[in-house]
Assembly symmetry: C2
């Protein structure tokens, strides 16, 4: 039997890529057998012993299952870097997150985390701007950024879109972004929307003395069209572009990272669709790993969850993702299925909290995330009874209150917009 | 309340995009409420009533939940085509397969199928070759095609790879392909492998008088590099390229389709990683829909499952996927969560059965799939006791036996390679 992959005595070496999996064997299969087949299928093996795999080759390239715990259904596997095209996220996923999810021999299977070896980090540039670079662009150093998503998601004309954006900027938003499903529709074409909305950002900058950023969605059917939209933004003077990372896919993201660096644009990553494969804690791929791949490739800011909003994601998980976005060195946290990662100097990504947030949640958000977060409000701004500008103002007021350690109720006494927001959203 | 989306009286119109979802509401949420929020979040709505959405706009663009059954947890929603960028698979997914998987208000959620309206089909070309075009390329009209995956998946040098490929061609394979995780590794660079393997295909063609196709994996970190690899193949005289559709992603696939048409290359789609989001029948996206999107974009052949092999996928599901690949008009099949689809003349894709297959399974495969299938054997060829060429020969012999309605045991009497294969793999 060539499948001597379980090797608790093995110490991973510097150049190994290390994966943690949760494995549930199918009925009648032992944990060790399922783990062994999984490790083989994700590297050099098939279902039957192949004559074309020599013992020498197998010994050199075999995966090492150096940790195996049937009780917690956890294994850690060290893979030789020789197995990978180290600069290719798609190839790494084809190997360690490919066929294995399909195997009859496993019931559920989840790839929890990957420790990228230095040799892989060296192939990637990470964020071009990252958290500090974004702070430079926006010119805000000492507080969370406040953003909005223009609502309704789709349906507004370009003119109406720009008007809503203007109101949000004027009321106090630093960032205004498109929603995930707004790209280039007939009622609101990409070019016209970009032009009109970037124009109102400039107007609001002149009026407020603050920097105002528009994050236009360049999600597109082809890379050529995606990069064309990026160029359009650049020509119109934008500093930013946004992209739906999952429907677009990894090859497009690596393509975009190159193009955006040439253009000097920062990249906002919307993670819609991730929960199709990240939500079930027993199957698929973790959101933590999605975040790591985004930092590796070099997106500048990423949605990571809110804890308190409308989207799924428990506090510990969201904070682990946050840490992976911002820390230089991430310590292992077996409880949260986090492997150690030395980021080798790659810049931190700016974490974004978005989804079902209202101004009333800002004290909670601030206590969960601190200053290094972008807070985004869609309905929480555009459903304010006095309108979008007032909604944005209420968010800034709630943030000021939180920064100064004053309760929202107290602060609302001489801040009308916040008072009205509390009236609408504060749980009694 | 603006959320009057449940509308059993509504008859979808020709231009609507129709989705079927399986929905499991979170605790304390009614089926109707969960469905309503899901339909809103995938179109024009947010979690709270937004002032920027006018009643007129809402009436024009609102989603219609025209079928709702809490017992089977099924809803069907008709979305106006105005909501979409009709030529963009990523945009359509960002809408109807985006944030909704994350909503706290649902426990599990699965997108089962989409009926693409004619207006959307018109934006796509479908397969350039498709099933009939592939038959022309390979010059085989009246039987299933036989292919192999070079094994081990990774680890062979380019020379060894070409040698294994040669043996497979010589033994009787029509197609030889790379495995999903073989792209451009140090030990087996893309260029050298392509050159050497295409050369042995030519040699085998001259020797056998049959056409021999090499499907080289062009999965790459960027679209530029993917298309460069495609050009390399074209320059070397290849007729085919293969791609890992899921790790690569939809924007890259639409990009590839354009480039491959220019080059006149057929496209083989490997679906590794799909089970991260297709396997759980209660959550994620169906493999059926993945297959439909591939046909829409225009891949020429796609892995659809084996029924009898090592990969998950029950017979009815696999056959539904097969039908979606090959039929001109697919009837609705509520049992299998299949919506009706008129393919509007887009060519059929060649279905591929691959994963854990042995020559002994060929009679079963033939009775399940008939002639319109590509049967691929990795271990089932390279683990043949007499080697790769004998493994390929055993497959061709088993196929001949099946076509002639002779049992493998009888046919093996004067076919040595098949006899040895039966000795190894036939379940007693
Ligand atoms: O609609 C949205 C926000 O609007 P609203 O504030 O009205 O809910 C979403 O795009 C969320 O940002 C997605 O959630 P994640 O960022 O967690 O993926
Ligand atoms: O290794 C494989 C086949 O080799 P073997 O024949 O040795 O199993 C896989 O790539 C399967 O084709 C994937 O399965 P699906 O095609 O079902 O996705």
């Amino acid at each position: 039997m060539r499948r001597d992959y379980v090797d608790p005595g093995y110490s991973p070496i510097d150049t190994d890529l290390i994966c943690e999996f949760h494995i549930e064997p199918a009925a009648g299969i032992s944990f060790e057998e399922a783990s062994t087949h999984m490790a083989g299928e994700s590297s050099i093996d098939s279902w039957t012993e192949i004559s074309t795999l020599s013992p020498g080759l197998a010994a050199r390239l075999k995966p090492h299952i150096f940790y195996l715990d049937a009780n917690t259904q956890t294994v850690r596997v060290a893979y030789s870097e020789e197995l990978f095209e180290l600069g290719s996220v798609p190839q790494v996923l084809s190997a360690v997150a490919g066929n294995i999810f399909s195997m009859k021999i496993v019931g559920n299977l989840r790839l929890q985390d990957i420790t990228f070896p230095k040799s892989m980090l060296r192939e990637f540039e990470g964020p071009n701007f990252g958290l500090p670079g974004v702070r430079d662009i926006v010119g805000v150093k000492d507080r969370p950024l406040v953003g909005t998503i223009v609502k309704p998601k789709v349906g507004l004309t370009s003119e109406m879109h720009a008007e809503v954006a203007y109101n949000a900027f004027a009321g106090g938003c630093d960032l205004v972004k498109d929603d995930e499903n707004l790209t280039d529709q007939k009622f609101n074409g990409f070019e016209k929307r970009a032009e009109l909305t970037l124009k109102v950002a400039e107007k609001a900058e002149a009026e407020t003395g603050e920097r105002k950023m528009y994050l236009c969605n360049i999600t597109a059917p082809t890379c050529k069209e995606m990069v064309r939209r990026l160029h359009v933004l650049k020509d119109l003077g934008a500093s930013y572009a946004m992209i739906d990372i999952v429907p677009t896919g990894w090859t497009a993201l690596q393509t975009l990272r190159e193009a955006a660096a040439d253009e000097g644009l920062a990249l906002h990553a919307h993670r819609c669709m991730h929960s199709a494969f990240t939500r079930n804690p027993r199957h698929g791929v973790s959101m933590l790993l999605v975040a790591k791949l985004c930092r590796l490739i070099g997106l500048d800011q990423l949605h990571i969850g809110t804890v308190v909003g409308k989207m799924h994601g428990d506090k510990n998980e969201v904070l682990s993702i946050r840490d992976e976005c911002v820390l230089d060195t991430v310590p292992a946290d077996p409880e949260q299925h986090v492997l150690a990662q030395d980021w080798g100097g790659l810049k931190p990504m700016f974490p974004v909290a978005s989804g079902g947030l209202a101004p009333t949640m800002i004290p909670d958000l601030y206590s969960i995330f601190g200053k290094e977060v972008i807070m985004q409000f869609g309905g929480g701004i555009h459903a304010h009874p006095m309108g979008t500008a007032a909604g944005a103002a209420a968010c800034r007021q709630a943030l000021e209150a939180s920064l100064e350690g004053i309760s929202l109720q107290d602060y609302a006494k001489d801040h009308k917009e916040l008072e009205v927001a509390l009236g609408k959203w504060l749980k009694k």
